[in-house]
Amino acid sequence: MSAKWYMLTVIGKDRSGIVSHVTAALFDCGCNLGEATMARIGGNFTIMLMVQYDGKAQALIKNIEPVIESLDLHAHVDTIKAELHRHQVPDVNISVYGADRAGIVAQVTMALTEAGLNILGLETDVAGSELQPIYVMNIEGQATQGIASLQAALDIMADDGIDTALTPIETMIG
C-alpha cells in the first residue's frame, strides 16, 4: 500500500462514542490508521490520528464530514511523512509542579532545552483548587548533555518556587 499519510486532528466537546464513530467513518472510506493520541483536555475531546488514505486531503475531509458535523466536531488534515517503527526511547522523566502562573512552561522548557533536553513527550494538568491552582507538568525526553546538566538547570528553578523531580529512566529489555 503506497497511499499517502495524513495527520487528522479532531476536536470538540467531549461525549462518549466519538472515537468509534470517527474511526468507523475512516474505515468505511478505505483509510488505514497509524499511531494516535486521544486526550481529554479541559473537558474537550482531542485526537490526533495518523491516517493512510489513497486520495487527496479534501476528499478525506469530505468522506468524514457527515460524522464530524453530526457530533459537532472540528476536523483538520495535514499531509505528513510517516515515521513508523523508529520510536525514540526516553532516558529521563521530569515532573515539575508549582503555583500556576503565566510563563511557567516557557521558563521550564527553555531552561531544560538549553541544558540538553530533547523533549519526546509533555503533559500538563491544572490541579489544586480554583483558588489555589497547581500547575503539574510531566516531561519525558533524552538528556543529550547528561543528567547532571538537567539537574543543575532544575536546581536554579527551585529559587522561583518551582518544585521539580528528575528520574533517570533505565529501560529494561528482556
Binding site: 529494561m172 529489555i173 528482556g174
Partner: protein, 166 residues
C-alpha cells in the same frame, strides 16, 4: 550450540503457559546453551525466557552485568514473596520498537532450580527484580504489554494502594 531465532508477537508459544522442567539431562543442557547464546548476541538485552526461542519450558536466564549475581539460569522459578511497587520502563525482544511503563514489585524472593537441578533461593531488588519478573511472566504466557500502565497518568491503581496501606 546455536543462536536461535527470537519469536515475535503474535507467536503462539509466547502466550502459552510453559511446562515445568523435570529432566535435567543433555537435551535440556543444550537448550540452556542455546538460550544463553541467543541472549548474548542480543544487544542491550538483560534477560531471556525459553518461550522466546520457541521452547515451552520453565527456564529463564537473567544477565544484569552490574549486579552481584552476574548471569543466572533459573529453572522452574517461583516468586515466594514480594515487597513494594515501582514503576519502570520495559521493552522486549519479542515486541520490537515499543517500550512502556510497567509496575513491578521492588523486591522479590525467588525459589528456583539451577541448570543442574539443585534448589536455589535468591532475593532480588530493583532493576534485577524487574528483569526476573519480566522473564517469569514469559513462562506464564504474559508479555509486558499485558501489564502496561497509562502513558498520560501513570498512577498506581487504587486497589494496590489499599492493599499496601491496610
Amino acid at each position: 550450540m546455536a543462536i536461535r531465532e527470537i519469536l515475535i508477537h503474535p507467536a503462539i508459544c509466547l502466550k502459552q503457559t510453559a511446562e515445568r522442567v523435570s529432566d535435567f539431562g543433555e537435551e535440556f543442557q543444550a537448550i540452556c546453551t542455546d538460550l544463553e547464546d541467543t541472549l548474548l548476541q542480543a544487544p542491550g538485552c538483560v534477560g531471556i525466557a525459553a518461550p522466546q526461542i520457541g521452547i515451552s519450558q520453565r527456564v529463564v536466564i537473567v544477565d544484569v552485568k552490574a549486579s552481584e549475581f552476574g548471569q543466572l539460569v533459573l529453572v522452574n522459578p517461583e516468586i515466594l514473596d514480594h515487597e513494594g511497587l515501582v514503576r519502570g520502563r520495559e521493552g522486549c525482544l519479542s515486541v520490537p520498537d515499543f517500550t512502556g511503563n510497567v509496575i513491578r514489585a521492588e523486591k522479590i524472593v525467588v525459589n528456583a532450580q539451577s541448570k543442574e537441578g539443585e534448589q536455589v533461593t535468591f532475593e532480588f531488588t530493583g532493576f534485577e527484580a524487574r528483569v526476573v519478573q519480566h522473564e517469569i511472566d514469559h513462562l506464564d504466557g504474559l508479555l509486558f504489554l499485558d501489564r502496561l500502565i497509562s502513558r498520560r497518568h501513570d498512577l498506581f491503581k487504587r486497589k494496590i494502594y489499599k492493599a499496601n496501606n491496610s
